[in-house]
């Protein structure tokens, strides 16, 4: 079956979710584009958007409509070309409207899993719960008459584990989008031990058509992205636990978050990132990963306790941030969680007290949003980190330790054979997490740092 035919019948599981809706959008666009080809007139393009409840599917088509317009506006040159023979559509707006209608027409939202039974490709983007994934795959396998290929958006569950437990005989591949899929360029591609080569080829073609940047990760729980992020978060929590003895919980949280953002020139501090992904999601991912690593404990009591107190982070359906380690107003941190009395403290009362203790940022500091725009930024970063290295303020000391720790995490991913190369680790952090530099770098004299 050629690429176009295989992609004419697709189902997305968890289509109403944050990841699922993005995957739905990109796949609908790709299917609409394929449907314009003359030789594809014989196919009916159907994209089943499956989710557990009507509520989850509510608003999904509106989301795709709005996003498809933005995408269509950007590719108007291409669209005018494919509409050149349609003489009745003349103006850009007419062509864009027609194209959006075409994109929407391939989508069939439904709560019924039965609709997937004649799909050639199943894209799974449900909760990070291995047993749920296996249950869904098994049900489709039992009823499907097409022996479909499975794409899983899992960010942590080994592909071989899913393959064996569902008896898919290699008809599954890991295709891990980053959030939000419509914008993030990175996809981690993970073949299991038995993944069939034709499926790998198909996945590469699909990624290429979606203009994604591929990093191949080995099939080890957590892969590269979460392999780094979960350990990064655990290191942040360890620092928090150390510092809280001296400064108090909320103060320590503030310090670690600020240093990991400002001093380390990242888009957000480590606790803001955990809030963004969700404390609950991080907890689940760690639980999935932990059994696979003998000499490590990928688990945090603090995350469990926060979860039990219903402090979970994550995002509301409108994209705004829910309360987690911190509270946010219009995307900015407004208050910090104090574990001892389960209350949030105004960020200003803490920053007034702590900023002078942390010390100012080193000379030549450039904020992340500016430096990320500069392509050749190595020299700027080298200068900056030289200045960081020469300081022994509280902030500089923590930043140096933290950078050494993340470097060790990165190197370990290579030695554990999660990542194939150091470059792959850095690529994932640069493109998937928008870091301004990779964790494996030469910015600091690592041997000299205690």
């Amino acid at each position: 079956m050629i690429y176009d035919e295989r992609l004419s019948k697709v189902s997305i599981l968890g289509a109403g979710g944050k990841m699922g809706s993005g995957i739905l959008l990109l796949t609908a666009i790709e299917m609409a584009d394929l449907s314009f080809k003359k030789e594809n007139e014989k196919f009916t393009f159907i994209l089943n958007a499956i989710d557990v409840s009507d509520k989850a599917l509510d608003g999904l088509v509106d989301y795709v409509r709005i996003q498809a317009r933005k995408i269509a506006e950007k590719k108007i040159v291409f669209l005018r070309d494919i509409y050149s023979e349609n003489r009745s559509l003349i103006y850009n707006d007419e062509i864009i409207d027609d194209y959006i209608a075409k994109v929407l027409s391939v989508i069939r939202p439904s709560t019924r899993l039965e609709n997937t039974y004649n799909s050639n490709v199943i894209f799974e983007a449900v909760n990070e719960n291995p047993q749920l994934k296996i249950k869904l795959f098994k049900q489709i396998e039992k009823n499907s008459d097409t022996s479909p290929w499975y794409f899983t958006n899992t960010s942590s569950v080994p592909i071989s584990y899913l393959n064996e437990n569902t008896e898919l005989e290699g008809r599954i591949i890991g295709f891990h989008f980053y959030n939000p899929p419509a914008i993030q360029k990175l996809v981690e591609l993970i073949s299991g031990k038995e993944t069939i080569p034709e499926l790998s080829e198909f996945a590469l073609e699909y990624a290429k058509r979606l203009r994604k940047f591929i990093v191949h990760s080995n099939d080890v729980a957590g892969f590269i992205g979460n392999g780094h992020f979960m350990r990064d978060a655990l290191y942040g929590i360890k620092l928090l636990n150390d510092l809280k003895l001296e400064f108090g919980f909320a103060e320590a949280l503030y310090i670690v978050n600020k240093v990991s953002q400002d001093y380390m020139v990242r888009p957000m501090g480590i606790f803001q990132l955990v809030d963004y992904v969700g404390i609950d999601v991080c907890k689940y991912i760690m639980a999935v990963m932990n059994p696979y690593f003998d000499n490590e404990d990928l688990h945090s009591d603090l995350l469990d306790q926060l979860f039990d107190r219903e402090v979970k982070g994550g995002q509301n359906s409108d994209g705004s941030q829910k309360d987690g380690f911190m509270k946010y107003e219009k995307g900015r941190i407004s208050a910090i969680y104090d574990f001892n009395n389960s209350k949030y403290v105004e960020v200003n009362t803490i920053s007034d007290k702590m900023d002078s203790l942390i010390g100012g940022v080193p000379k030549n500091h450039i904020v992340w949003k500016d430096i990320i725009k500069i392509k050749d930024r190595k020299e700027l970063l080298t200068n900056y980190f030289n200045n960081l290295n020469s300081l022994d303020t509280l902030g500089a000391t923590i930043a140096k330790d933290y950078m050494k720790a993340t470097r060790a995490i990165g190197l370990k991913l290579v030695s554990q054979k999660v990542a194939k190369t150091e470059k792959d680790v850095n690529d994932v952090m640069l493109t998937g997490f928008f870091h301004s530099y990779g964790p494996i770098n030469d910015f600091l004299p690592w041997e000299e740092l205690k």
Binding site: E73, I76, V77, L79, R80, Y91, N92, D93
Partner: protein
Amino acid sequence: MRKKIYITAGYNTISLGSGRKEFHPKKPRPDLEHYIKEAGEATLKIIGGAQNVDETVISNFNASQYNKQANLPGYAPYIDKKLKYKPSTRVEGACGSGGMALATGIKFLLSEESDVILTLGFEVQNTVKAVYGADILATAGWWKDRKDGHAHFFPGQFSDRASAYYEKFGREETRSAMVRWYKNAIENARLDPTAQEYHNSDSELETTANIEPNGKVFVDDLTVFDCSKVSDAASALAIMTEDGLKRCGIDKKDAIEVLGFAQAEDDITTQPEDPTRLITTEKAVKFALEKAGITKEQIGTVETHDCFSIAGIMSTEAIGFAKPGKGPDYVLKGNTAHDGEVPFNTTGGLIGWGHPVGATGVHQAVTIWQQLTGKAGDAQITLSEERPYGMTINMGGDDKTVTCIIYKTAD
């Protein structure tokens, strides 16, 4: 000229659009009423009030589509109640509307119907995204050409001209001259606080603009730096007879005189005879020089219609400053720069100051008025005795509706 015609009391609003610090595509912006009122009131104030005005000429390209508003003459009394029940006329010739408003005003004065005319041009384009604005702008071409035209219709038209020019006269030097044109435009815009590129602080303008065109995302033979931007602005001035000057109490040192003007029109349903030349512009310039009784060697500064850098370069040939194919060399030698032999577009032109379509022709005249009366601020140039005259060239569509006007200091 049958009688002396003067221009005075010029005023430009800022040219708002990407590049200005005040501009944010998702935040509310001033509407067309704001621009009309600001520019109109400013000119009326200088000439002693609306009671001195006999009639109004308003130029605008396409408020019907950008702003869902037609019947624009009705905005004259909106500027000032004293214009109620006085004549008001709207003219439209696409990007050449402003020049047409000046020519119309001049002819009203020559007809002896009026002595003082308020002339105001405006366009508020940021109401739609550029991808949809492209279709609105495309109505400046022939509607039957739209379907097979480029998504970005006018950049497509001038990309085709650039392509023909590259082929006939060489690509490398032409591209270098286009990059230089951009640099001159931005540097000149930095001299005028109302310019859209006034805030541009790029220190490597030539490096920035020296990129290869990419037909997959834009057009085949132009980059975005070869194009004027989307702009919201209004420009106003007063055109008057000698009696008008007296009525308004305007000193001649604050006015300039129209030495000659010409309009030329080409058939909108046809493609250019020779895409490497602006033939209608050639005609308008020739007629205007003849009517003014001067030669091109006496022109000291030009405001030309550089909707695209290639159009700016081709206009140096249309005027006759450079032979066919030698416009790039003329520009690269620095002749059009602010300190060159004939400074072009001294406040940035369409690429640097902005291109609020229906206002552009009026803005050009305001710039010449500022230069010839010593009111150009940091952009001020000094004209030599041998080259004392200013010229504006305003072009509608793809060299279809052209007005050329020649100006001198008033005496």
